[in-house]
Symmetry: C2
Subunit: 315 residues, 2 copies
């Protein structure tokens, strides 16, 4: 009898659901809207109904489904309890218990950044390695820590919050981070941070730059200009890659991964980014972990759904 | 039938061996010399003979012994292979396999700083918590990371090398760290680092200080003078505690422990140190992990032996 599992990536707007073979082959994927009204009261029953519907269509019995993994946009304790998701209107919710009661199947829950890291370790840019750290460089900077093929979630579900390492002086960033600090990695290395710091530099100096022609400026503009040799853009990109390399070296002193995987929108800068971050990493890394690999994430927006399935594929 | 295990702390001069009940109660402990001559060829057979002798005396059968845990002063892969121990004259040694062959019992090996962290988590300052990070402040700065009651050793056995986070500018330290970098936490927060930085300050300024009367200066002198209100000593102590607090905040963004445990000779400064480090920690910590606890280590030099036993007590 063939065995399957479901991976669910619960976002603030849509829920992505995938049906996987137990070996991790995607069989089907689809999306449903996330109904955040009424404090998100219908979200889990919508997911349960969608999964049941897919099982009916495919003539799948519960005995054929090993379990359901779900990634949620908030801190998660014990693969079960979400400690508040502002985006969903949720307070504390026993996600795994509730979805299990609704479906009659085993459920494991984890933070969305953490399941994305697990996805990249299981099927993506970090495939073949047991110990991985992922940086997700998007609007913010997220992260996930995988050791021995399992998510490290920490005491409060706050492991992997590597965007909030207060890594530079407060006068080296623009404004205050969403977390309340000044000097977070997120303020230097997120798409928003890159743009803010580049605009500050453009305003403060009169150096020529192709970026002066562009409005509104995006992180992609800055990184494209840097690759093309624009000096001001290069300074901005080097600063960002230096701080990411430094942060990676600190992280390696803690968990010593086999590989760092870089994902999120900013990672579309590709090998340029990998070369830069790993060059600065070597400047700061402890000798025993100086050869840690760096790679690009390869699963894109499916990483969370795939990693969620990965949590339960070996139940 | 009562069950037992052995914990072995293998140091460069002596081997500490303990006999424990499976619940972790110490029954007996003793020491044998570490014979480092001939590339340490006799070390493991000496340990095996000593354990066998204690089993003979106590009429213990192999069936009554769950296993042997051993902490070694070097990086360890897969609870087995030591990747070189300069202090012992060892290259790569399959410690667990070899000691198991010599004794006919199950053996697990780990790095000495890591087993000390496990000891403090199992029976010491971190008892009752599953997720712990230990700082050992001695001649150097060592560390150990425990998640879900297990040692995180990392890809190269270099997890927990938190003394080698390059955390300050090179002009804020004296000389070069043993690892080759300038600016490591170890150069600020080890006993050696505290003395070096205080002596530099004494030489560079003419500020009054009781420390000017003391030669040779020790870290204890500096911390005692700081507690007594000597302004120059206070500046030195505050700088050290600030960098430890910063490092702890970075570490919490990675693994989010329940508790930080502070051990090693410098930790004899006691609650003064805990208060200072945790005060600076709050300045840098991410809000979700801002309430992480800090405590003193309580097992002293027995932490390694106890943690080594802890590795096998539940085999």
């Amino acid at each position: 009898m063939d065995k399957y599992c479901f991976g669910v990536d619960l976002g603030g707007t849509t829920v992505k659901i995938g049906l996987f073979s137990i070996e991790g082959q995607l069989q089907d994927k689809w999306e449903i809207p996330t109904r955040t009204e009424n404090h998100g009261a219908e979200i889990l029953s919508d997911i349960a109904a969608s999964i049941q519907s897919r099982m009916d269509t495919g003539h799948l019995s519960k005995e054929q489904v090993t379990g359901i993994g779900i990634g949620v946009p908030g801190p998660v304790l014990n693969e079960n309890i979400v400690q508040g998701c502002v985006n969903l209107g949720w307070g504390n919710v026993r996600v795994a218990d509730e979805l299990s009661a609704l479906t009659g199947m085993k459920v494991k829950a984890a933070n969305d950044a953490n399941v994305a890291a697990l996805g990249e370790q299981w099927q993506g840019g970090g495939k073949g390695f047991q110990n991985l750290v992922m940086f997700t460089l998007g609007t913010g900077v997220g992260g996930g820590i995988i050791q021995n093929g399992r998510i490290i979630s920490g005491a409060n579900g706050a492991a992997g919050e590597i965007g909030h390492m207060v890594i530079v002086d407060s006068d080296e960033v623009v404004g205050t981070c969403g977390c309340g600090h000044r000097g977070c990695l997120e303020q230097v290395a997120s798409a928003t941070g890159i743009v803010n710091l580049t605009e500050k530099k453009l305003a403060e100096c009169s150096q020529d730059s192709v970026l002066r022609e562009i409005s509104p400026l995006t992180a992609k503009d800055v990184l494209d200009a840097a690759k093309a040799g624009d000096a001001l853009a290069e300074q901005a990109a080097e600063n960002m890659m230096k701080q990411l390399g430094r942060a990676a070296a600190y992280i390696a002193c803690v968990v010593n991964p086999d590989i760092f995987v870089i994902g999120g929108g900013v990672s579309k800068a590709g090998e340029y980014l990998i070369e830069g971050i790993s060059r600065y990493y070597k400047d700061y890394a402890f000798h025993a972990s100086a050869d840690t690999k760096f790679a690009l994430a390869s699963l894109g927006n499916d990483a969370g759904m795939i990693g969620a399935a990965g949590m339960v594929c070996t139940l």
